[in-house]
């Protein structure tokens, strides 16, 4: 039964998706849009599961003292810190007890992790967690230089959220992406070797395409290289890409059919 129900559902919705592709009528559109809404809903519930999983894995790392377990605290502090910054904002220019409040919340999180991870003597971290939580609640109640905002723009405008976004997240993400330049250099160094005829052709083609960016060739040579490289990109390269695309397209249809008909059950753990 546990196996039958999902298969029936997949068959039903899969067939409907095929049906709606050929039926433009409004009623079929309505069902289609209704089903799409469900994707959002399921996604939001799954996100909660995902965050819980991240939390459990981090706690587990601390518990088993895995390699570099200390970073798990950084992960959790980042997770809860950003959520907090997103929901709180100060009214004026004064910070009040805000930073102490943030510290209290983060310490509560860390202490509760500590309590979950500790094998013996859970009492101390648990007590401390409670103490910090109490502190946080007291500040939240009595400090009125800042307050909580839900579903409003103020949260996103909050100074802390902005600062963390602008000065921590943006540089880190840009840095990770720019690592690609180094990896491309080293990968190109290893890969483009004229080992045999085909590899030599690849090498020559790659050099021509890369030379296109070089502006010091003068008009005639530059024009020639630009023409050759655009031929390389538009004819042999595009032909190979299209061949792969056609294969992928048929593969997608075949796999989708297999899933709908219940032949392929890999997604249910039945290879």
């Amino acid at each position: 039964m546990k196996r039958q129900v999902p298969l029936v559902l997949v068959l039903l919705f899969g067939l409907f998706m095929i049906f709606q592709y050929f039926v433009p009528h409004e009623s079929s559109e309505w069902v289609y849009e209704f089903l799409l809404d469900w994707i959002y809903i399921i996604g939001i519930f799954a996100l909660a599961l995902g965050i819980w999983s991240l939390y459990v894995v981090s706690v587990d790392k601390v518990k088993t003292r895995k390699h570099d377990w200390g970073y798990s605290y950084v992960t959790l502090a980042g997770l809860f810190g950003m959520i907090l910054f997103g929901f709180t904002a100060r009214h004026g220019d004064e910070w009040g007890w805000y930073l102490i409040f943030v510290a209290c919340v983060l310490l509560t999180v860390i202490m509760s992790v500590q309590a979950m991870a500790a094998r013996i003597n859970k009492g101390l971290p648990l007590g401390l967690a409670g103490l910090f939580l109490l502190g946080a609640v007291l500040i939240a109640v009595f400090d009125d230089t800042w307050s909580f905002y839900f579903y409003t723009q103020e949260g996103l405008q909050s100074t802390m959220f902005r600062a963390f976004f602008d000065y921590i997240m943006m540089p880190i993400l840009a840095t990770i992406f720019s690592l690609l330049a180094f990896f491309i250099a080293s990968a190109a160094y290893r890969a483009f070797r004229a080992r045999n005829l085909l590899a030599s052709l690849l090498l020559i083609a790659a050099l021509i395409v890369m030379m296109r960016f070089f502006p010091y060739f003068g008009e005639n040579v530059g024009e020639f290289i630009a023409r050759v490289s655009s031929w390389l990109m538009n004819v042999p390269n595009l032909a190979a890409q299209r061949a792969i695309i056609i294969g992928v397209g048929l593969g997608i249809v075949a796999t989708a059919l297999k899933v709908i008909l219940g032949i392929e059950r890999g997604y249910m753990g039945k290879g």
């Binding site: 050929f22 009125d144 990896f183 294969g247 048929l250 075949a254 997604y267």
Partner: protein, 532 residues
């Protein structure tokens, strides 16, 4: 005297006639002020105007076709473009208080935004009042200094005054607040009633109502699709099964000089139950479905179907063996796809197979995921595999876990795992984007054996460079059939091969047909034309 009177009457009649001859009097100042231009003779109207419900759509749309005016691009060549008009009924007669649907839409939207502004303002006033009464902000008095030539006068707003003013504001707003949603509801109700009676109102043609511009067409055009919206709240809503009337004007450079066509109508729009423009796809699906069924049934009967060996898949077994020998974990990356991507679905199958072997060899498996739904599915897959391998107790919840929904943060996390745990084998299967090389190069740096598979064409070269084995495009989808070795799965691969052969043959035939000017060759290509 009588002569003068007669002259006046004649003049008045002439004036009246000339005014009534102008159907649309959009005489703007600029036209009136402009220097005299040589008069353009009015162009000949479009003829043969037809209006039909647009085919193969969800309704709410009408297609107009016409024969060009003789003065469009030929003849006097004075036509500058076409303006398409539709008749809008007057709602005044049938519904009290309903001016026009357009105004009502705007009223509703304005009322809605006013409501939100009002609520926010009330919130601000209440907060301020609370601050003031609780003394939180330490408000004493606001001093305004006004400098005059004689002396500096200072006005003071004291606490009591401000408090009273805020109290009044809050009280007034609170009493008025419920009125706004009520008025929105009222507006919406009468709007819905108006929409309900729109069909009826159209039957009043040509009583009342007015002609409204619904679109423009270039001078060379001979058709126009008036596709409206299905949402009544949107400006260009067209109601199905309602009598619509159209008119196409040819206009010259001077938009006041124009000629109307004959009016066409009534025409009704409606949704279709089959999209005829997609027939080629329909047949392809039917034929491909039958091919799959046929080969599956042949495979079931025991026919031996040959499948080309895939080095990447065969390497999976060795890689797991290697990991076991080295006592190091296996890292399985499902990519950035969602559970709806076929590449991810294929990846689940490979994951199932890997997890089963891992369970048998008792090696460690690490599966960091990017999408929470993918995580849930992958957990189920790994769990079932451990069950199949007869080792349900060895399954750990933390094998599959969620990291983040941010592309490069995910890369950082996975790269961190690679460098810390030094997995013996990294398997990348699914959808990958700019992160492919970042992952694969780090894996190579960590000395892992790497197997990749993706259908993202732009990323395949990166994987080929940095990984030991790469499944290219559809090979990833074939992996499940190959791994399972189940006859029914192999059958579908065979069907895929036949379909590919058909595509190649049709491609060559199409190439020849497109370059030949035979009558049949041209119609042949038409059979494969998919519209909308």
């Amino acid at each position: 005297m009588r002569f003068l009177f007669g002259l006046t009457v004649i003049l008045a009649l002439l004036l009246g006639a000339s005014v009534s001859a102008q159907t649309e009097p959009p005489v703007t100042d600029s036209v009136a002020d402009s220097v005299e231009v040589p008069a353009i003779p009015p162009p000949a109207p479009v003829t043969d105007l037809k209006a039909l419900d647009t085919d193969d759509d969800h309704g709410h749309s009408v297609t107009l076709t016409w024969t060009k005016s003789v003065d469009a691009q030929t003849g006097q060549n004075t036509v500058n473009g076409h303006q398409i008009f539709r008749w809008y009924p007057a709602m005044m007669d049938s519904l009290a208080g309903v001016d026009s649907l357009k105004n009502m839409r705007q009223d509703i939207q304005r009322a809605q935004s006013a409501n939100s502004v009002f609520r926010r303002a009330l919130g601000v006033a209440e907060d301020a009042l609370e601050d003031l009464t609780s003394g939180g902000r330490g408000f004493d008095a606001l001093r305004f200094t006004v400098a005059t030539p004689q002396d500096d006068s200072t006005f003071v707003l004291d606490r009591a005054f401000v408090e009273q003013a805020l109290r009044d504001t809050v009280a007034t707003m609170t009493t008025h607040l419920p009125l706004l949603p009520d008025s929105i509801k009222g507006l919406q109700a009468s709007f819905e009633a108006a929409i309900e009676r729109l069909t009826e109102a159209h039957q009043a043609y040509p009583e009342g109502g007015s002609w409204n511009l619904v679109g423009l067409a270039a001078k060379g055009d001979t058709s126009f699709v008036n596709s409206g919206n299905k949402d009544p709240m949107s400006g260009d809503f067209i109601k199905d099964f309602t009598d619509l009337y159209y008119r196409v004007d040819v206009v010259t450079i001077d938009e006041t000089i124009r000629t109307e066509s004959a009016i066409v109508g009534p025409v009704q729009s409606e949704g279709q139950w089959f999209n005829g423009g997609r027939f080629p796809v329909f047949w392809a699906v039917i034929i491909f479905g039958f091919l799959t069924m046929y080969f599956v049934s042949r495979a079931r009967k025991g026919d031996d179907l040959y499948v080309r060996p895939l080095a990447g898949i065969e390497a999976v077994d060795d890689a797991i063996g290697r990991a076991t020998e080295m006592g190091r974990p296996i890292l399985y990356v499902l990519g950035l796809g969602t559970a709806a991507d076929v590449a991810t679905i294929a990846s689940f199958t490979v994951l199932g197979r890997v997890a089963k072997q891992v369970a048998e060899y008792q090696t460690e498996l690490i599966v960091p995921t990017y999408d929470p739904i993918v995580m849930s599915v992958a957990q189920e897959v790994v769990k079932s595999s451990y069950l199949d391998a007869g080792r349900p107790d060895d399954y750990k919840e933390n094998t599959v876990f969620f990291v983040t929904n941010l592309q490069f943060a995910y890369v950082a996390a996975v790269n961190g795992i690679m460098l810390r745990e030094l997995p013996a084998t990294n398997i990348y299967m699914g959808k990958f984007f700019a992160e492919s090389l970042l992952l694969a190069e780090t894996g190579a740096l960590a000395g892992s054996i790497q197997i990749a598979g993706t259908d993202e064409i732009a990323q395949i070269p990166f994987f080929i460079v940095a990984c030991d084995y790469t499944l290219i495009g559809e090979e990833l989808y074939a992996a499940s059939a190959y791994l399972g070795r189940e006859p029914i799965l192999l059958g579908s691969l065979k069907a895929q091969d036949w379909a590919k052969a058909a595509v190649i043959v049709l491609g060559i035939v199409g190439l020849v047909a497109a370059n030949l000017e035979w009558g049949f060759a041209k119609t042949f290509l038409e059979y494969f034309h998919v519209t909308n």
